[in-house]
Symmetry: C2
Subunit: 153 residues, 2 copies
Amino acid sequence: MQRTSFSGMACSIARTLDVIGEPWSPLILRDVWAGMTRFEQLQTDLGISRKVLTERLNHLVAQGVLERRPYDQRPRYEYVLTRKGAELVDLLMVMKGWGDRWLAGEAGPPVLYRHHACGEIADVALRCDRCGEPMHAGDVDLLPGPGVANPAT
Amino acid sequence: MQRTSFSGMACSIARTLDVIGEPWSPLILRDVWAGMTRFEQLQTDLGISRKVLTERLNHLVAQGVLERRPYDQRPRYEYVLTRKGAELVDLLMVMKGWGDRWLAGEAGPPVLYRHHACGEIADVALRCDRCGEPMHAGDVDLLPGPGVANPAT
DNA sequence: AGGCTTGAGTTCCTTCAGGGAACCCCGAGT
DNA sequence: ACTCGGGGTTCCCTGAAGGAACTCAAGCCT
């Protein structure tokens, strides 16, 4: 948790950061998405401190992004993405795209996506959900919405 | 900067986090995008410590995401998005979408986007850049790419 | 000419979160 | 009875975030 909590701000970006803005949280989500669902797996793969991993997992579960569930009679648990969490992974896909374009260098992308619908190696593109045209940072105006200055319920 | 640097990992998500993963960095980008380009504006709008703001701005400039440039004869500077930075804002648009859907509650979104191309209030949607169909976390397989296990150049 | 103001930082101190390693608990197998 | 292995908890230490005060360089005011 960063020192200052962002959740009081009337901004969906700040609120989202309160859910996954802490260090390691996005990487934990990435790993769970990729099938590394258990504590020990996550800890060894990430090299994260066990203490911090516990904190992050608890927070992500509390936020409804992950679900903790037993997979054995013994006290063994795995973490799985909820629907809310799966939609967050979309965000990670966009991050991967940016990193591939700007940081991967000569070596190229470390990971590729194959899209089920077309079978091609592909990346995500951002489009307008009304007209279907490309939609980027420079293509929009910002307007105040209904939730401005109202605390989220 | 988080204690552990992610930049050594062969993962575009981790590398991207090394650029904007620190607390405040995404909000700084949001503000610059929205037209708050000066040190004092950022500091008072965010309520961030001046020390940390300095560190973040320097880091973002060093990463090529922001550009620092004088706007007066006096030693006055403003920060503007580079092309690399503008593409990062796409990421923020996706974050906003998720926050609107899952965290805004009854009050609704604090901010709306109007898309220049169609003039409608709209949000971003993720689509495949090959076939144009929707592309989400569950719609892809992960494959090793050329940059796997190669340090980025 | 001397002082005031403003933007853009620096310095310093305190507190709290992250790293790391050791420790603990519990149910199963042998 | 003892060990093993997953899933944590406890402890101490360091370093980053908060916060307030201080600095510096141009203009502006009178």
